[in-house]
Every structure is written in structure tokens, then in C-alpha cells.
């Protein structure tokens, strides 16, 4: 258990160093750079076309299907992962069970494709 936690300590330190690096460089930039803001500089596209309207626009419901498919196969991955760790022990039994599992989920993807909801336009 202690070896295990020590190895994750490395991960934690690595993460902290990553956060610290970003902080240090942004902080350094702030200290070193000249700071003279004006209206033209603060525009979204400086010396470009002036943006109009609201920044917010409603996304098309069509894209929702992609999010759904992502969730579905994400969950599938969670189940495939442990199976893969023990692939050899389960032999044909595990293969058949997983094949049924994936086949049923695949029906969903084929369904979405056949019903034309995967078209991007």
C-alpha cells in the first residue's frame, strides 16, 4: 500500500509543478510586460471587423446525439477495461459475453447512422 501511495505522490508532485509553472510564467509576464490598455486594444479582434450581437448563441439540438454517443461508448470503455486486464483468464466465456455486450451497443451506433442523425450538415 505504501509503495502504491508513494507512486501516486509522484503524480501529485508532478501536477503541482505543472500548476506552479503556469503560475510562474503568467506572473513573470505580468511583471515584465508594459501595461497600457486602451479601448481599441481590448476589442476581441483588434484592427479587425467589429463583433456585433451577443456572444451567446443556442447550439443545434443535432449535436446532442454526438454527446450521447460519446457517453455511451465512454461507459462501454469502462467495462472493457477490466475485462482486458483479465482477458486470458476468461477464455471463450469472457469473449462471448463481451461480444454480446459490444454487439448490443453497436446496434445503437448503426441505428443512429441508418436513421441519418450522424450527418454533420
Amino acid at each position: 500500500m505504501s509503495d502504491y501511495l508513494r507512486s501516486y505522490l509522484t503524480v501529485g508532485i508532478f501536477g503541482l509543478v505543472g500548476v506552479a509553472l503556469v503560475g510562474v510564467f503568467l506572473g513573470l509576464g505580468r511583471i515584465l510586460r508594459p501595461d497600457h490598455p486602451n479601448l481599441a486594444k481590448n476589442e476581441a479582434y483588434e484592427s479587425g471587423v467589429e463583433p456585433t450581437g451577443d456572444m451567446w448563441s443556442q447550439a443545434n439540438i443535432r449535436y446532442y446525439v454526438f454527446a450521447l454517443l460519446f457517453v455511451m461508448f465512454d461507459v462501454e470503455a469502462v467495462f472493457i477495461f477490466p475485462w482486458a486486464a483479465r482477458l486470458e483468464a476468461y477464455e471463450v466465456f469472457g469473449l462471448i459475453e463481451m461480444a454480446i455486450f459490444i454487439f448490443i451497443l453497436l446496434l445503437g451506433l448503426i441505428y443512429a447512422w441508418r436513421k441519418g442523425v450522424l450527418k454533420w450538415v
Binding site: S7, L107, R114
Partner: protein, 502 residues
């Protein structure tokens, strides 16, 4: 770093699988897949075959259920997580037959509206698959997955009339309340798992009933689990979704929700109570008692004031859930007769309520409404439907010799047999509420028989063949169950305690 993932553990022992015991689920799954494949290959051209394929699938699923019943042996897999006994088989048969009748009353309704037909039947089958799985589930995880499998398609089906705001409201309310209940339920299950360290209900019971007084966490776990299922069976005060959902959902779906979905909630509750919590009656019995008494009374009192027949049936369903909960409040005193009483009530309730909804669908084909006032003078232009509706309403009220009286008689018998204060009080509640309920059932009867038709419009109602056969089946069953009560009585003589050993 991921060394643990690859660490070797002991040899894997392949679980023994009794294919005969799993045959009903596998058959239904196969037909569900077939239906989806048909949809994928033929698209809209498969529409006209979808209801037929769904009914064939349901009837084919009856075959292994019957062979298992003939065989008669109790089967148990995975250390008792999946059990096939008489009780499970009866409930599976109820779900399958209720599903079949729902297909019969759906076929014209769905094909005439602008609905997604193939998907409708696919979702219906997957919901029924969840229900028959629930009948065999004796394990927290299996129960939870079965509950989600039967609920999630039902949420979608409730909102199937996509362009209708009421249907959207129905689906949304049902979904939000449903997932809320699932979350509470799952939290309760996790507390129970934390307290006992097992997901098997048999072991759970052994673990939580070992001490004299329950630990606080077990009490919380049991309360959360019961609250979760109380939403599912629409018991007061967790019934608020039911009237709006029933009114807005397509009527065949409402029939499905009010019968099959409610029965599945009861099956889950009974599995939990009779196998998992039976030793902790000091915790669950007062709670079930309160739920039962309040559900009957509130459901009936609100039903009195309804002007829409679907909403009235929704509130009457709340009251009926109260009746069915009543024997469970004395589950530890008279376990066998309490279980048998609730199971027989479920069987008979399924028949009469499906029948009532079939009539509502038939009448709405002409009147396009479900207002009770539009049932005035029904006898003058649809005598057959009027007779059928009267039979179902009087059966629901519990008047002999129709099916309902026997169901109520069993409930009364069980609570009185318990010979406890709470049992007798519940008996009084059931008796008083039956009288209240008679008033609103009879009111519709009077409107149909005695009043004149609105606008003097006497064009007969055209009832399509599938709807007609559903009506014939339910009328026949309602009468047979009432005249030959021994039939249900013999079949529902079930016990869930065999696995617990006492």
C-alpha cells in the same frame, strides 16, 4: 504506477449458468434485438410488422416461463442473486401478459398518430425485459439495474407525443421525479452495503437483523430504499408526478405505467422487504403502515374531485397502491399470506386497470377527450363499451362477483389474520376507503347509463380488432377471477422466505 492493475490474483472460476432459468430474459432480449435489426435494415418499411413482432416476442417469452413452471423446481444462480421460483414466474407472466395487452391497445393508437413506431415497440420490450429481470433479482445491484432498465424506456415513452406540450410535461416530470427517486434509492442501497458488506439480499438480512436494535445507518438505508420505491409505485406523499404524467402521456403508455411499471415497483419492494429486510420489521413496518394508510385516503379523496377520467384513474391508482401496501405492513407477522395477498391483488389489478384504459382509448377514438362529462350517454351509442367499462369500474371498486372483490378480500384477510393493532387499523382503513371509492366509480357508471349523449351525437364508436380482443381478454379475466377466486388463490400461494430459511 498501475502495477496493481496487472497484479495476478487467483484463478477465475466460470460461474455456472442455468440457461433454462435465464431463458425468458434471453428470449425477450433476442426479440428486442430482432426488432432493432428490422428497424435498421428496413427503416420505415418495417413499421407494419413491428407490433406483430413485438407480440410474437412476448408470447414466445411465455413458452420458457411455462416450461419452468411445469418443471416446478426453484432455481438459483450466482449465490442467490438471480432466483427463479413460483413467485418470480407468476410476476414474469403478469408482466409479459400485461405487456401483450399494452401492445394490443397500442397498435392502432400508435400507427394512426405520427409516432415512431419501431422504436416504440423496441423501448416497450426493453422496459418489459427490465421487469421480468426484476422478478428474479435478489441482489442490490441486479435490482437497481433492472429498475433503471424498466424506467428509462418508460420516461421516453411518456414523452412520445413529441409535439404535444402536455406529453413533454408528462415525460419531464416523470423523468425528474424518477431519477430523483433512483438517486435516493441508490444512496440507501450504498448505506446498506456499507453496513453489511454484501449486495445479496439474503446475506443483507442476516447481517442487519443480527443485533437487537438497528444501527442508525441501517435505519437510514431502509428508509431511503422504501422512499425510492414509493415514488415508483406512486404512494402518497411521493405520488405528485402520477396525475400529470398519466394525463399527458399517450394513453397506452399510461396503461403500461399504471399497471406494469407499478407492479414492477411492488415486485422490487417485496423482494427487498421479504428477503432483505424481513428481520428488521421494527424499521420498515411503521413506515409502510403510514404510506399505506395515507395513500388510500388521500388518493381516494382527491379522486372524488376529478373531472378527467385519466386523472381519476391516476388517483384511484394511488389509492390502489395503498391497498397493496397494506399487507406489507404486517409482513413479518403473516409473511406468506401477506405476500400472497399483494401478489393476487397485483394480478387482478393488472387485468381490470388495463381493461379500463382500453375502454378509455376506445372512447377517445370518437370523442377525442378523456373528460368524464364526455362519457354521458355512452350506453346509447356504445353499449358494449359501456358494459365493459361498468365491469371494470365495479371490479376496481371491489364489488362481487367481479375480480376486484376477491383481491380486496385477500388484503382484508391478511391484515386481520396478523391480529395486531396496526393490522386491524389498516383493515378499517381499507373498508372505509372502499366505500369512498365506490362513489366516484359509480358516478361514472351513472353518467354512462342514465344521461343523454351530449349534442345527441349517436354515431357508434369504431373499435379496431386488436383493441376489441384486448377488451374481450380483460373482461373475461375480470369475471373469471371473480367467479372462480380459487384460480388466483391457488396460483398465488407463494412464499419468498424459502431462501432465507425461516
Amino acid at each position: 504506477m498501475l502495477a496493481a492493475l496487472a497484479a495476478e490474483v487467483g484463478d477465475f472460476v466460470r460461474p455456472p449458468i442455468d440457461w433454462h432459468a435465464a431463458a425468458p430474459e434471453l428470449t425477450l432480449l433476442a426479440f428486442g434485438v430482432l426488432l432493432t435489426l428490422m428497424d435498421i435494415v428496413w427503416l420505415e418499411r418495417g413499421r407494419k410488422w413491428a407490433p406483430a413482432l413485438a407480440s410474437i416476442g412476448l408470447l414466445a417469452t411465455m413458452v420458457p416461463i411455462i416450461t419452468l413452471a411445469v418443471d416446478g423446481a426453484d432455481r438459483s444462480m450466482f449465490g442467490g442473486a438471480f432466483v427463479v421460483d413460483k413467485y418470480a414466474l407468476i410476476m414474469k407472466a403478469v408482466f409479459i401478459l400485461a405487456g401483450y395487452i399494452v401492445v394490443l391497445i397500442s397498435s392502432n393508437y400508435i400507427s394512426e398518430g405520427d409516432y415512431w413506431e419501431n422504436e416504440y415497440y423496441g423501448l416497450l420490450l426493453s422496459s418489459i425485459l427490465g421487469m421480468i429481470l426484476m422478478a428474479s433479482a435478489r441482489d442490490l445491484i441486479t435490482i437497481f439495474i433492472a429498475l433503471e432498465l424498466l424506467s428509462i424506456p418508460a420516461y421516453m415513452l411518456a414523452t412520445w407525443r413529441k409535439r404535444d406540450l402536455k406529453s413533454n410535461e408528462a415525460g419531464l416530470k416523470y423523468y425528474l421525479m424518477g431519477v430523483f427517486a433512483s438517486a435516493i434509492l441508490l444512496y440507501g442501497m450504498s448505506l446498506l452495503y456499507g453496513a453489511s458488506g454484501t449486495t445479496l439480499l439474503v446475506d443483507l438480512n442476516e447481517s442487519i437483523s443480527a443485533s437487537d436494535s438497528p444501527s442508525a445507518i441501517v435505519v437510514m438505508g431502509i428508509i431511503f430504499v422504501i422512499v425510492g420505491f414509493a415514488f415508483k409505485v406512486s404512494a402518497v406523499p411521493f405520488h405528485t408526478w402520477a396525475p400529470d404524467t398519466y394525463e399527458g402521456a399517450p394513453t397506452p403508455v399510461t396503461a403500461f405505467l399504471s399497471v406494469a411499471s407499478k407492479a414492477a415497483g411492488f415486485v422490487a419492494l417485496m423482494n427487498m422487504l421479504f428477503v432483505g429486510f424481513i428481520g428488521r420489521d421494527d424499521v420498515y413496518e411503521p413506515m409502510i403502515f403510514a404510506l399505506a394508510a395515507v395513500s388510500m385516503t388521500v388518493g381516494n379523496l382527491i379522486a372524488l374531485r376529478q373531472t378527467n377520467i385519466v386523472r381519476m384513474l391516476a388517483y384511484s391508482g394511488v389509492a390502489q397502491a395503498g391497498y397493496m401496501l397494506a399487507p406489507l405492513a404486517v409482513a413479518s407477522d403473516v409473511p406468506d399470506s401477506a405476500l400472497a395477498a399483494t401478489v393476487s391483488y397485483l394480478v387482478i389489478y393488472a387485468v381490470m386497470n388495463l381493461g379500463a384504459f382500453a375502454v378509455v382509448i376506445a372512447v377517445a377514438r370518437k370523442t377525442r377527450s378523456a373528460e368524464i362529462d364526455d362519457y354521458r350517454g355512452l350506453f346509447h351509442y356504445a353499449p358494449g363499451l359501456t358494459v365493459a367499462m361498468t365491469i371494470f369500474l365495479f371490479a376496481l371498486a371491489g364489488i362481487p362477483p367481479l375480480g376486484g372483490w376477491w383481491a380486496k378480500f385477500r388484503i382484508m384477510g391478511a391484515v386481520i389474520e396478523a391480529n395486531t393493532v396496526s393490522g386491524v387499523v389498516l383493515g378499517v382503513f381499507v373498508a372505509v376507503n372502499s366505500v369512498i371509492a365506490l362513489y366516484y366509480y359509480a358516478r361514472i357508471g351513472a353518467k354512462m347509463w342514465a344521461d343523454e349523449a351530449p349534442d345527441g351525437d349517436l354515431t357508434p364508436v369504431r373499435v379496431p380488432a386488436s383493441l376489441k380482443s384486448a377488451l374481450v381478454l380483460t373482461v373475461a379475466a375480470t369475471i373469471v377471477f371473480g367467479v372462480l377466486p380459487g384460480l388466483v388463490g391457488d396460483v398465488t400461494k407463494v412464499s419468498l422466505l424459502a431462501g432465507v430459511g425461516g
